[in-house]
């Protein structure tokens, strides 16, 4: 396992887990909500990075499966389907749409792929506004939730983030990881080595989309609503992606620190200078782009060490 090598790593992971599990018991529901928001962004960032770090393909449409999950779950709950059925239907919808878009965009290369995936977000946004019977149009869908939902979402999100982190590391070591990295290294050469780039690209996109989609389901489950903005707005579409692109080259964990800082900063701006929130976030992101290392604060720390050894060449 790449991200847990030493005894020190295991101690840190255990402490982190213990702290995470204790938080809901010792803090207010406000904190739980805040952490949920951060973990949703973290999951989106990791799922984007799963595709990007190894294949080099920028899926700017990662918020589409998020929205599909969020809307499908809200639709099902608002029609009084059971929670289990709602989850199953939402996951099937996520898999269906991610496979569909994967096959649709698989021919695109480089910047065209990024643009194509971004176009899918605009497409999804338009559908969300226009298919009122399905999505509630501009108002979106409201579902009833209890405080308990936030607490369950909290643990599921923490668990899924850990799973995706370990999965990312495991894939990198596997032959699937080698195939994906060869696609990034030189797609034509990869094909002459017998690697079916298209199939690998679609598979990894589906895996990444599944996690982003489940983040969407969970976001509906504790927020109690879904709108086009909450799914396809700047926050889900770009923040996790920006953090993964800026910080992903340092380590697998670095983007998570990035989204945490930006989400906390955003919370502080909203509560202190609400009119200037977007302005301040813009400045923060520009600074992050200029000085990515400083954003992780922990300069020269363990989080900056590229233990995966994967992306040092490209950064």
């Amino acid at each position: 396992m790449i991200i847990m090598k030493t005894a020190e790593d295991i101690v840190i992971a255990t402490l982190a887990l213990a702290t995470m599990s204790a938080v809901p018991f010792v803090s207010s529901s406000y904190i739980v909500f805040l952490l949920n928001g951060i973990m949703v962004l973290a999951l989106c960032s990791l799922s984007f990075n799963l595709v990007y770090a190894d294949t080099g393909y920028m899926n700017l449409g990662n918020s589409v499966p998020f929205g599909v999950g969020a809307y499908a779950f809200a639709f099902a709950l608002s029609h009084n389907w059971s929670a289990t059925l709602a989850v199953v239907v939402s996951i099937l919808a996520i898999l269906f749409f991610s496979a569909l878009s994967g096959i649709f965009i698989v021919r695109l290369k480089g910047a065209y792929y990024a643009i194509g995936t971004l176009a899918l977000v605009l497409f999804a946004q338009a559908l969300a506004y226009n298919l009122g019977w399905l999505t509630g149009g501009y108002q979106g869908i409201i579902v009833s939730v209890t405080v308990g939902s936030a607490y369950s979402a909290y643990y599921i999100l923490a668990f899924l983030n850990a799973v995706l982190l370990l999965l990312t590391a495991a894939i990198r070591k596997s032959s699937f990881g080698y195939r994906m990295r060869s696609i990034k290294g030189n797609e034509i050469v990869a094909s002459t080595l017998g690697i079916n780039a298209a199939v690998n690209k679609v598979i990894v996109l589906i895996i990444g989309s599944l996690f982003a989609g489940i983040a969407g389901i969970l976001s509906t489950s504790y927020n109690g609503f879904v709108t086009s903005e909450s799914s396809f707005g700047i926050s889900i579409t770009f923040l996790p992606v920006i953090m993964a692109i800026l910080l992903g080259s340092f380590s697998i964990v670095a983007p998570l620190i990035g989204v945490t800082i930006v989400a906390l900063a955003s919370e502080i701006f909203v509560t202190t200078i609400p009119q200037l929130t977007d302005f301040m976030l813009g400045i923060l992101l520009i600074l992050a782009a200029l000085y990515p290392k400083n954003l992780i604060v922990l300069k020269n720390s363990r989080f900056l060490k590229n233990k995966s050894g994967v992306r040092s060449a490209s950064s």
């Binding site: 032959s175 080698y178 195939r179 990295r181 060869s182 990034k184 290294g185 030189n186 034509i188 050469v189 990869a190 094909s191 002459t192 080595l193 017998g194 690697i195 079916n196 780039a197 994967v310 992306r311 040092s312 060449a313 490209s314």
Partner: protein
């Protein structure tokens, strides 16, 4: 038995006829050299056989099956490997990872067997360096190391000697002969250094402006009037 039989293969890039009605037979377990001045269509022929370029017409029979138009990964899985005239490393991956990726084709290769390939290619000290940072000569050998890990039935090596010194050419030649003897690989090798090519190749094919102008043994091709005329005054053929 013929491992490769090319019939009636033509290719145009816009108005430019790059290959015209090419016929070619490759014998099993044999190294065949394909020579011709720059621009005569050698690399295009390799691209068509390996599928990185889509044929516009003609047949490419590999072990009796027409692979013309198959996807490159399908052709590779059937046992056809190639190297590139301009070395193409898998960037962001180490030398060892480059070779390991190639070895996935044949299933499980032990780390020892991969390291043995690196030793044979004099790449053992670079095993853990990013392939993109290798010197030109090392990159040439990485191209070969990858195809060695694939144990191909048919190998296309595009100008493997270009840019190498004499001892490196000898090492490269020995590796090609070894692949023939160990895996039964049939090889099509392109180049200009006919003297060095003659040491490994049993058959010669001369290409000129997309047409095969001579076939046969080294001496037959060398003494062919059309070949002599083509090369008269050309400086890129050495002995």
């Amino acid at each position: 038995m013929q491992v490769l039989k090319i019939e009636n293969l033509s290719h145009v890039f816009g108005p430019l006829k790059v290959l015209e009605d090419v016929y070619l037979d490759l014998e099993d377990n044999t190294i065949t050299a394909i020579i011709g001045p720059n621009g005569s269509g050698k690399s295009t022929l390799f691209n068509l056989i390996s599928g990185t370029l889509r044929p516009q017409g003609g047949n490419i029979l590999f072990n009796g099956i027409n692979i013309a138009g198959f996807k490159p990964y399908v052709i590779a899985r059937r046992g056809v490997s190639r190297t590139f005239q301009d070395p193409q490393p898998l960037c962001g991956m180490t030398v060892l990872e480059n070779v390991k990726t190639a070895s996935l084709l044949t299933g499980t290769a032990s780390k020892e067997s991969l390291l043995r390939i690196l030793v044979q290619c004099s790449l053992e000290n670079e095993a853990d360096t990013d392939a993109a940072g290798l010197s030109f000569a090392k990159l040439r050998f990485l191209e070969l190391a990858r195809v060695m890990a694939m144990k191909p039935k048919l190998l296309l090596v595009d100008e493997p000697f270009s840019g190498l010194n004499t001892s490196e050419i000898e090492r490269m030649s020995n590796l090609l002969l070894r692949m023939r003897d160990e895996f039964g690989t049939s090889t099509l090798i392109s180049g200009h250094l006919v003297g060095h090519l003659a040491k490994v190749a049993k058959e010669f094919v001369a290409l000129h402006r997309g047409k095969v102008i001579a076939k046969g043994s080294f001496d037959e091709v060398r003494n062919n009037p059309a070949v002599i005329e083509t090369y008269l005054g050309e400086s890129n053929v050495e002995n």
